[in-house]
Symmetry: C2
Subunit: 141 residues, 2 copies
């Protein structure tokens, strides 16, 4: 029923095993659907309940979930990657001044993608990197 259980079922289907850390990672990512959590932030939350887990395990689980198409990672800037559910389509713009993340509609690149496809035969992926600029308050300040 739960999104978490659905995900864990998919993990098992793929031959993976369900461990407590894996369950915790899935739970954290699922309950922060709109957040842009880094591996470190995810690990921090996981370790609150499972103090013997390790961030390297979190990285491995995140990769597994990404291979299964459940999770995606996005680069908001020069720092660490951030992770979110793949089902959650949206694009991002990050203010270089204050760091705020603006969520953008998922059709944002449709015209650009069509143009690149027509002109170059290049088929664009869902962008993997955020746009950068200045948010309203910082732009006028």
């Amino acid at each position: 029923m739960d999104r978490v259980d659905d995900v864990l079922a998919r993990v098992r289907e793929a031959g993976g095993r369900v461990t407590s850390t894996k369950r915790a990672v899935v739970t954290v990512v699922s309950s922060n659907a709109d957040a842009h959590l880094t591996a470190e932030q995810i690990a921090e939350q996981v370790l609150r309940n499972l103090p013997d887990s390790h961030i390297s395990t979190v990285y491995r689980i995140l990769h597994e979930l990404e291979d299964l198409g459940i999770v995606r990672h996005v680069h908001l800037g020069h720092g660490p990657s951030t992770y979110h559910l793949a089902a959650d389509h949206h694009h991002h713009a990050v203010c270089e001044s204050c760091g705020v993340v603006v969520e953008l509609p998922s059709d944002l690149y449709d015209d650009v993608a069509a143009r690149i496809s027509a002109d170059h035969g290049f088929e664009l992926d869902v962008p993997h990197f955020a746009l950068a600029g200045r948010c309203r308050s910082c732009a006028t300040a």
Copy 2:
């Protein structure tokens, strides 16, 4: 007259000093206008003539030139940054399969930028990260 000399003049204007490594870095970047050189590749070329230079110096010079608006760095993917003259406007798409870099017109994002500005008051910078996808040959293969 030379673009290299123009750049070095600007460096001096800004209070910087012209050293042999700096001249070499500027020369390498200027003579590879369309390439997407990493710091390591730039250092490699510099070291051919100045074997006692060091890549950390190249990084420092690249930063200085970037602060002066002469050079920009772009991330083509998950690897190292690539550097090119700022005067050389263009955007990039990288094939995730074969790695080829497609250069895209500099007005590519104009509509997207206008839309984000109108809807969110967010003023987009020149993108700093390449788009990713599949080039014509890899998309059809």
